[in-house]
Structure formats: structure tokens, C-alpha cells
């Protein structure tokens, strides 16, 4: 794992000191709110419905046990004893007081973390595949590159006042778990025909008001050209992006209005200018970063106890069926710890749970933890022989829910329970759906199904790429929920289609039940997932289930 150098440490301390002075100037009146707002946003501090909110970056979703314990300590000391993990690999604290924030930032700096550029019209926290460095299907670990991009984008003087926010994601696996096609820039690590490593560069994807799947701007970019090429893209966007309408300001609109050919030509032109500016120091730094991400020393051991426990304990068996992913090392597995206990708030963890996870990572997980964009916590390197003990500990902490990838593993943004931009609540809808399908005891029968809920058009809950997406809106002063179908967030990314008119809050759970009923009725066999059935059958049988009255009316 990467550890802060003296340079990183000095930079972050300097930023905290600056922010401490800015908070003082705000409170004593020398800074107005208008002047202070961009400064606090640059440091991750938002104002929400009931309180401030501090968004802390977890770069490429990677944490060690010490950092996780510090997040727990911050939650206890300055918040209400919990934190909320987000779809962009951040953690949010919902109740900080303005004067405490500089102390919270110092506490983060103590463990090599910060909240810089988690807001504002700048390059945001760089995200990566949450199985990085562990996945069996991985070509290369994307985290060294993500760390390089973090350093390059941090405090980049040209790019602090872009037309709009800018998000970069990196994946090192052909199976895209980082949603690279829905980012301003998506980087897929690939090898060319002679085996040299580089990137496929995707530009102009994004969800929000105008969802778009990104386009390939360069199908093979040599590794050493990465930073000048990124700089060229963002530089072209900075000049060309629209500043007259914030709904048209993201790079996806710039690319679609300019045309990918013309946009590419401008980027390549600028890239030629910038290429010579990077004299190799970036590649030397990358090599040093790569060393710090060297794989742990995996042990070789037998795991009969794992198989025995599976036979003896059906709950353990269910957990291992859903929450494990294949690891590159023999005998190891990747454990996804669900933060989606039925009826709980998606993505929330108490400080006690955080400490349990830290302990498990330290004892059984080579001291590594990951946060996924699906709002779960991952123990990336667990030997199967340790799994029964890990499971028992998770179970005691209320963290052993066996539902990863199932209907109750719902992504949900904070919605109008917290967010000032929201038009409706998301959390209660997620809670009700999960509770209902737990009562029905159907979720294992239903199999893989991704429900994603956003509380407004900005789509923090990724509803467009949910197999079932739910968008909360305000319709004439009442919460109303619109359903989209057939979305896909993976390497075969698709934007879901709107099913029809929305549903009031008390009708949304029955609507989802009808939808799932239609799937179970129409699927070829248990092996055909919801998404596969939707692709085969088209929307009609699902719409008919959602809107039964309409069908009756049509038939009459």
C-alpha cells in the first residue's frame, strides 16, 4: 500500500493550516459565505439539510487497518458514531460542526488521508476497481496509476476551476468493476499485440441529467504517455467546455457537441505540445509507487476446515456462495462485507463495525481493506482456512449479511434524508425493498439483480445503470419514484430505459415485487438472470407487470 512521503505529508498539513485560517476568517466575519463557499468545497465540506457534511476521499478505495480505525475515531469524536460510504469510494460524515472540521482534517492527515478535491469543479477523487491487486482476472493492478493520477491532479493549478466537476476511474481487469464508461475519463489497462502495457482511454461518459456512455478516444496509449495525455484532455475541456449552462457543462456534452473526431484531433494536438514536458520523473515515481503496492506474501495452506464449515453450517455456506470472489492466489478469496443488512441504511457503518473490520484486516487480511462503489467493504486477501473465524466475527458485528449482488444489495444515495439537492428520499425506499424481499425469502431464488436508487436527477445512486433503477422526484409536492429497466454498469454498459409513469412512495415496493414476479415467471431457467431475461424479452412483459391497469384497458 502507498504511504505518504514527506512531500505528501507536508502538502496536506499546509492545506489543513490554510483551511483552519479560512474557518477562523469566516467565523470572525472577514470572509463572507460567498467567498468561503468555494474554499470549504475545495476541502470537502458541504452544507446539507440538517448540518454540514464532510466528504473524505478514500483514493482508489484502499485503506489499511490504521486508517479505518482513524475513520472510526473521527466518527466517535466529532460525529455521531458512524460514517456513510459512497458510490465514489468516499466516506461522508453527516454531522460535523464547522469549528471541528480543521481538527478532523488534521486527524485524517495523521493517517495519510485528506478531503481535498472531493467537491468543486475540479478533478475529483480517482476511483479504481475495488478488487484491484486481488482479482483473478486482473491484467495489472490499477492502483499505482490511480495514485499517480491523484498526485498529478491534486492542486493542479490549471484545473481547479473547470467548467464542471471531473471524475476519473481506472480498471485493470477486462471485467469492468469501476464503471469506467460512465466517467469523464475512464482508463482500462490493456496490453497491445506485442504485450506492452498501456491504456484504452474512454472519454465523455457520465450519468446525471443527460446519461451517456463514454467513447474511446485512444484505443492504445502507452503507459509513459498517460499524464501528458490526461493533461491534454482536461486542458481542451477547460477551454471548450460550456460555462453558460451548468447542465451542459460536463465533458460528455463537450464531446457530443464537438464530435469525438474533432475533440480527439484537438487533444492529440495538445498532447504533442505537452509530451516533451514530462521528462521521466513521473515514470520513476510510478515505479516507486508500484513497489509500495507489491502483492503481500501469500501463504500456502490447506483449507479442509473451510469445506467442513460449508457442510456443517448452511448460513456460512450461503455467505460463501454470495460474498466471495475468486482471488488470484491459490487458497485465497476476496470477501465482500455487505453494508446492506436488510432494513439498514445502505453504505453506513458504525464506528464499532469499522474497528471490527480493521481488526479482521490486520489479523486475517494482510492489513488491507477496500471500499466498493457499491457501498460495501472488502477484505481483498483472506485465506480460506481463516474464513470460518472471519465469518463468526462478522456475524457478531452484524456484518455477515449474505446478499452481495442480490436484490437487497442496493446502492442508494443519501437522498432527501440528508442531501440539499435531493428531490425525494432514497434510503427508506432501499430499506423497504430489502425488508420486503427478506420477508419473502426469495432473494437467493431471484439471483443476481442490481437495484440502484437516486434521490434526484444527478444520479449519485447510479440509477441509470441499475438492472432496476429508481429515481426519486418531487411531483407537485409529493415524493414520486420513476423506474428504469435494463441498465448495466459493467464493461457492457447500457443506460436503462424509463418504464413509464412514476409511483408514489407507498406503491413502489409492490411495483418492484410485480416486476420481479414477471421475471420469475418468464425466465427460461434459474440460470437466466434478470438482465439476461430483460435483454431477451424486451421491456413489454415487465411494463405489463408494472402497469397492470393499462394492460386491462388496452385489452378491453
Amino acid at each position: 500500500m502507498y504511504h505518504y512521503t514527506e512531500f505528501d505529508e507536508a502538502f496536506v498539513r499546509e492545506r489543513v493550516a490554510q483551511f483552519r485560517a479560512q474557518v477562523e476568517r469566516r467565523i470572525d466575519g472577514s470572509l463572507t459565505e460567498d467567498e468561503f463557499r468555494p474554499l470549504r468545497l475545495m476541502n470537502g465540506l458541504y452544507l446539507q439539510l440538517h448540518a454540514y457534511m464532510l466528504r473524505v476521499a478514500i483514493p482508489y478505495g484502499t485503506l489499511n487497518s490504521r486508517q479505518m480505525r482513524q475513520l472510526a475515531l473521527i466518527a466517535d469524536r466529532w460525529d455521531k458514531g458512524y460514517g456513510h460510504f459512497t458510490t465514489r469510494q468516499n466516506i461522508q460524515y453527516n454531522w460535523p460542526k464547522l469549528q471541528d472540521v480543521p481538527d478532523m482534517l488534521d486527524a485524517l492527515a495523521d493517517v495519510g488521508m485528506h478531503a481535498i478535491q472531493t467537491s468543486g469543479n475540479t478533478i475529483r477523487n480517482v476511483t479504481a476497481d475495488h478488487f484491484a491487486g486481488a482479482a483473478g482476472d486482473e491484467i495489472a493492478d490499477p492502483r499505482p496509476v490511480a495514485e499517480l493520477i491523484r498526485q498529478w491532479s491534486t492542486d493542479h493549478p490549471e484545473f481547479q476551476f473547470l467548467p464542471r466537476k471531473f471524475k476519473i476511474a481506472v480498471t485493470g481487469s477486462p471485467n469492468d468493476r469501476a464503471v469506467t464508461k460512465a466517467h469523464d475519463i475512464g482508463l482500462r489497462m490493456v496490453r497491445n499485440e506485442v504485450g506492452v502495457g498501456g491504456f484504452e482511454v474512454i472519454v465523455g461518459g457520465g450519468l446525471g441529467r443527460t446519461p451517456m456512455i463514454g467513447e474511446v478516444i485512444r484505443d492504445f496509449l502507452p503507459q509513459e504517455d498517460l499524464l501528458p495525455y490526461l493533461e491534454a484532455i482536461v486542458s481542451v475541456y477547460n477551454l471548450l467546455g460550456r460555462r453558460d449552462n451548468k447542465y451542459k457543462a460536463r465533458i460528455k456534452i463537450t464531446v457530443s457537441e464537438t464530435g469525438i473526431e474533432e475533440f480527439r484531433a484537438r487533444v492529440e494536438d495538445q498532447f504533442e505540445q505537452l509530451r516533451g514536458e514530462f521528462g521521466g520523473a513521473d515514470q520513476e515515481l510510478l515505479a516507486r509507487i508500484e513497489q509500495s503496492f507489491a502483492a503481500p506474501e501469500f501463504r500456502t495452506a490447506t483449507f479442509e476446515n473451510f469445506n467442513a464449515a460449508r457442510l456443517a453450517n448452511p448460513a456460512f455456506r450461503a455467505f460463501t456462495d454470495t460474498n466471495l470472489a475468486s482471488h488470484r492466489a491459490e487458497g485465497y478469496c476476496i470477501v465482500t462485507v455487505s453494508l446492506k443488512a436488510h432494513g439498514a441504511t445502505p453504505g453506513d457503518a458504525t464506528s464499532d463495525q469499522m474497528r471490527v473490520l480493521a481488526d479482521l484486516a490486520e489479523t486475517y487480511g494482510h492489513d488491507e481493506l477496500r471500499i466498493s462503489h457499491e457501498q460495501n467493504v472488502i477484505l481483498p486477501h483472506v485465506h480460506k482456512s481463516d474464513l470460518p473465524k472471519v465469518y463468526a466475527t462478522l456475524r457478531e458485528a452484524g456484518l455477515a449479511t449474505a446478499n452481495v449482488g442480490l436484490i437487497s444489495d442496493i446502492i442508494a444515495c443519501p437522498g432527501m434524508d440528508y442531501c440539499a439537492l435531493a428531490t425525494a428520499r432514497s434510503i427508506p425506499i432501499a430499506q423497504e425493498i430489502a425488508t420486503r424481499f427478506d420477508e419473502l425469502k426469495l432473494e437467493h431464488e431471484i439471483g443476481p439483480l442490481k437495484i440502484k436508487i437516486s434521490g434526484c436527477i444527478n444520479a449519485c445512486g447510479h440509477h441509470h445503470v441499475g438492472h432496476i433503477g429508481i429515481l426519486g422526484l418531487d411531483r407537485a409536492g409529493v415524493e414520486n419514484y420513476q423506474i428504469t429497466l435494463g441498465g448495466d454498469h459493467t464493461e457492457t454498459a447500457v443506460i436503462g430505459e424509463r418504464a413509464g409513469p412514476g409511483f408514489p412512495a407507498d406503491e413502489i415496493v409492490p411495483a418492484i415485487e410485480r416486476l420481479v414476479g414477471a421475471y420469475l415467471e418468464n425466465r427460461e431457467d434459474a440460470g437466466e438472470t434478470f438482465l439476461a431475461a430483460y435483454r431477451r424479452l424486451g421491456p413489454d412483459p415487465f411494463k405489463a407487470a408494472l402497469y397492470p391497469e393499462k394492460e386491462t384497458a388496452d385489452a378491453a
Binding site: 502538502f11 498526485q151 493549478p157 473547470l162 521528462g279 515515481l285
Partner: protein, 396 residues
């Protein structure tokens, strides 16, 4: 040409057609779309009016502008109306006044507002506007969704009483957008805004509220109007003497002047360039004399190709601190090999000084007003711009 179709159906079609357009686009199209018809802009020439006036002037300066002179306006508003119309080149400003006979009967003293504001509004605003709009199929307003609670449903086009279309180009704008638009387009502000009037209507019903002042001083109250220093001469409102302005601390140094301030790593200094500024279009044909060039943030740098060697200084405009194009322009000029002086001018804040320097600027030119607000120590605090520079390490 008169539009066809019923009004509600036209409105539905128009909203569908322009659903994803920007304010300026909606306005431009509305002024030419036969489905809209004859269109006027109704403007109070108040605190924010200049935004729509500017958009209309860009789209078609001959658009009829209906300016409602209630005869109760501040003299500053009347002056501002004339100067804005002239500056924007608006050729058809129609001044709408109350019917003189009606006014003579119903409000002979000009004091109706004290006893019945609604009746005053009806006489001086509603009736004249209704009359003036008779010849039009549509009118443009500045209403926005965020105003007046959560009016999330306000569309670009609305059917008004089934007789006329109301066009709301700014409906999607957020609270800061008006200010940003005014900054970006350098539009003149209503003179009373600077004096503490965030919104400006008729004089008797508008007053400013300053920090520390009795908050009720600004409220409309019949009894309080006796004391507010407003009286009438020939039917026009004349404002009494303003409260003494807040005293500016007088300093002997540069800050006392209204000259611009040049910020460098050593702090504030005076302007030292005495040779004027050319634009890319007015570059002298031959090199020779001292030459400085002004660039706007949307400048195309290729017009300077081959000329960079002969230019002593390039000055790039920052219309708003949130517009970061100037940083990229500076960096590109340096990449193209420009070695002369590079200056950022306009709305750059102290917290951006390090960004400006790292992007390639040598100095920042700010207005005296900004220099008073963001004092020299705040700029000097960022003079250590070479420290903690990630990008410099990566490019070595």
C-alpha cells in the same frame, strides 16, 4: 406571421422542442419561431434585468422592450434605463406609463401606496401592462424555478390565460447564475445595488437594509413611510438625503486611489506599463515599439502564431474567479514559447495567486476595490507558490 394551433398545444410543443436548450438559445429561438409570434420583453430595469436585456440585444436589438415607468421609480432607475438601452443598442424601448386621467382621479397626490398598495400596483403596473401587451402574442419574463419556494414546475413556455405565451428563459437558473452572467458579460449594474438594495422596485416600497440597521427600517409600513424621506415633485418621486455612507478608512498608500493594483511575489505595486494594450485584431503590422496584447478567455491563440517574439506583455482577462480558462491559456502560451510578461487581469482572488503563478503568469492585475477587500497579506500568504507543487515534481 401569426402562429397556428391552439395556445396550450403550442406551449406543449414549444416546451418539448426547447427542453434541453440554454436560456440564450430559448430566447433566440423564441424571437424567431413563428409558433411564438410577436414577442416583447417586459423589463423593470431593476437589479437583475440587464441579463435578459443583454440576451435580447444579442439576439435581436429591435425587439420591443416594454419599460414600465410607474412614476414612482428611483431617479437612478430612469438614468440606468437610458444608459443600458444605449449601451446595449436596444432600438425599440417603449416607456409604459399609467393612464394620466386614471391617475389624476385615483391617486391625485401620489400617495395611494400609503393606504392601499394593491390599488397602487393595479393603477400603476397591472393595468398599463395589460394595455401595452395587447398587441403581442408572447412576452418574456425573468422568473426562475428557485424563486418563491419550490416552484419546480416552471417551464420555459407557459400559456397565460389562453391568450398569450409567457416565456421564462431563466427558469432553470440557480441563485448565483445571474451574478455570474453579469460578471462574464461585464454588464453595468444598477447603481442602487452598490448602495445596498438587492432588489429594486418602486421607491416607496423598496428600501435598503444594512447590517446593523433596524431590520424593520426597510419594511413597508404605512406609518413608517412618513419618515422615510420620500416626497414627490411634479408627480415624480424624489428620494431624500441618503444616510451618510460608511466611512472608508483613508490610507496614504496606493489603496486610497482608484487605480488598479499589480500583485507580484513582493506584494502590491502600481501599474508600470505605459504603452497601452492592443487586441489580437489591432496588432500593428510591423514589430518595433513596446507592445502589449489583451486576450479574452475565449481567445484563439493561433492568431498570435509567429508574433509571440515581438510581444512584450500579454494580459488575459478573468471575468469571474470561477472561470478557469485563463490558467490554461497562460500555460499554452508558455508552451508555445512566449517569454514576455504574462498578466492575469480581473476577478482573480488571493487564494488563486499560487495557481496563476504556477500556470505561467508573472503577475495579477486587480481593481482597487478587490485590493481593499483582499488585502496584501492575503496575497503574500500565497507567495510561496513554489512549495508543495506536485506537478513540478512529476514534470522534472
Amino acid at each position: 406571421m401569426r402562429p397556428d394551433g391552439t395556445l396550450p398545444s403550442r406551449v406543449i410543443d414549444l416546451n418539448r422542442c426547447y427542453a434541453h436548450h440554454s436560456a440564450a438559445d430559448v430566447l433566440k429561438h423564441a424571437l424567431t419561431d413563428p409558433q411564438v409570434g410577436r414577442t416583447a420583453l417586459v423589463s423593470s430595469f431593476g437589479a437583475e434585468s440587464v441579463v435578459l436585456l443583454h440576451m435580447v440585444a444579442v439576439a435581436n436589438p429591435a425587439t420591443p422592450i416594454l419599460f414600465l415607468d410607474t412614476e414612482m421609480l428611483f431617479p437612478e432607475t430612469l438614468d440606468y434605463q437610458q444608459s443600458v438601452a444605449e449601451r446595449l443598442g436596444l432600438t425599440d424601448v417603449r416607456i409604459i406609463r399609467p393612464d394620466p386621467e386614471e391617475a389624476a382621479v385615483r391617486d391625485p397626490q401620489g400617495l395611494l401606496h400609503r393606504t392601499d398598495t394593491d390599488a397602487c400596483c393595479a393603477l400603476r403596473k397591472t393595468a398599463p401592462l395589460h394595455e401595452a401587451l395587447k398587441g403581442f402574442d408572447a412576452w418574456i419574463t425573468g422568473r426562475k424555478r428557485y424563486q418563491g419556494g419550490r416552484r419546480t414546475d416552471l417551464e420555459f413556455f407557459e400559456a397565460e390565460l389562453r391568450v398569450r405565451i409567457k416565456i421564462n428563459p431563466l427558469t432553470h437558473w440557480a441563485p448565483g447564475d445571474v451574478q455570474e452572467y453579469m460578471l462574464n458579460n461585464r454588464l453595468p449594474r444598477h447603481p442602487l445595488v452598490a448602495q445596498g438594495y438587492p432588489s429594486i422596485g418602486c421607491a416607496p416600497c423598496t428600501s435598503k437594509v444594512a447590517k446593523g440597521e433596524d431590520p424593520r427600517a426597510g419594511r413597508w409600513r404605512g406609518s413608517e413611510k412618513e419618515e422615510c424621506g420620500i416626497h414627490f415633485v411634479n408627480g415624480k418621486v424624489v428620494r431624500g438625503p441618503l444616510p451618510a455612507p460608511v466611512e472608508e478608512p483613508q490610507k496614504e498608500d496606493i489603496m486610497a486611489t482608484e487605480d488598479t493594483v499589480i500583485v507580484t511575489d513582493t506584494g502590491f505595486g502600481p501599474e508600470d506599463w505605459a504603452h497601452g494594450f492592443a487586441t489580437p485584431n489591432t496588432l500593428p503590422a510591423t514589430a518595433g515599439a513596446a507592445l502589449a496584447v489583451d486576450l479574452s478567455p475565449d481567445a484563439d491563440l493561433s492568431v498570435l502564431d509567429g508574433r509571440l517574439e515581438s510581444i512584450d506583455m500579454i494580459r488575459i482577462d478573468f471575468p469571474s474567479f470561477s472561470d478557469g480558462r485563463g490558467f490554461t491559456l497562460a500555460r499554452r502560451l508558455r508552451l508555445k514559447g512566449f517569454h514576455g510578461r504574462l498578466r492575469a487581469k480581473g476577478h482573480v482572488i488571493a487564494d488563486q495567486y499560487a495557481m496563476a503563478r504556477r500556470s505561467g503568469f508573472d503577475e495579477v492585475e486587480i481593481a482597487a476595490e478587490l485590493a481593499r477587500r483582499q488585502t496584501e497579506d492575503q496575497w503574500l500568504a500565497r507567495a510561496n507558490w513554489k512549495a508543495h507543487d506536485y506537478q513540478a515534481r512529476l514534470r522534472a
